[in-house]
Symmetry: C2
Subunit: 137 residues, 2 copies
């Protein structure tokens, strides 16, 4: 069932629809906070259940974002028809260490950063909320 | 001149290259903070000088994001060739009211939200920093 607000033309996507879209893509945007400063980083990712898993090197994403609130966004826009959709996952960012029971499973996942330098750290965004919207015309 | 890190395959874009990419697109992602929670909103925008201008209705972007630090991201990815670029603008989000000397100029700009409901508020992200990267293979 589609839930479209006739006033705004915005369709609210179900959680299942959001998870299907998340499972089908490989690149999105991680949002973290450093002090009061929001930051957005494009990242390669893979969906593991309903968690977003990314690999990273040392730096802001890891050092400032870990065990904190974070969000992750994917979208697709058709500029010609002025339509598009977006999915946002909001939750808590965890470091996955070798001691984590799911570490072996995670390192076998196809998280394959396009920038091919060493990214030895694994992060998992555990969702509190998954929302999606689609703009029609 | 291209500045490519041979270890990472990442090209650092100049500020001028970032501004050209920002001038050429119409949709991006606004990042704001609500308490300690980062949020990402897809938005239509227009570049005005080096400021990112968006229209919004009442809600989180306006009420929580105004006069605070915010960021704005655009990107393009080619999933087949595993390449892409991104530009991030980091700065302070201002409400532009009718009393603002540039209000008349701003409301004449082609900021044209795809979701066609009333968006009477104008926001301007005044940049502190504009950075861009391109991933090659």
């Amino acid at each position: 069932m589609e839930l479209v607000d006739p006033k705004t033309g915005i369709e609210v996507l179900t959680r299942d629809a959001c998870l299907r879209l998340l499972a089908d893509d490989v690149v999105g945007r991680l949002g973290v906070v450093d002090g009061d400063v929001p930051m957005i980083f494009p990242v390669n990712y893979v969906l593991d259940g309903d968690a977003v898993v990314v690999r990273t090197t040392h730096g802001t994403k890891l050092d400032r974002g870990t065990h904190r609130r974070a969000c992750f966004e994917i979208d697709a826009f058709d500029r010609a028809s002025r339509t598009g959709w977006s999915v946002v996952v909001s939750g808590r960012l965890e470091v996955v260490t070798a001691a984590d029971p799911s570490f072996k499973r995670l390192v076998a996942l196809p998280v394959d950063p396009w920038a091919d330098f060493d990214k030895p750290h694994w992060l998992r965004l555990v969702p509190h909320r998954i929302t999606g919207r689609r703009v029609h015309h």
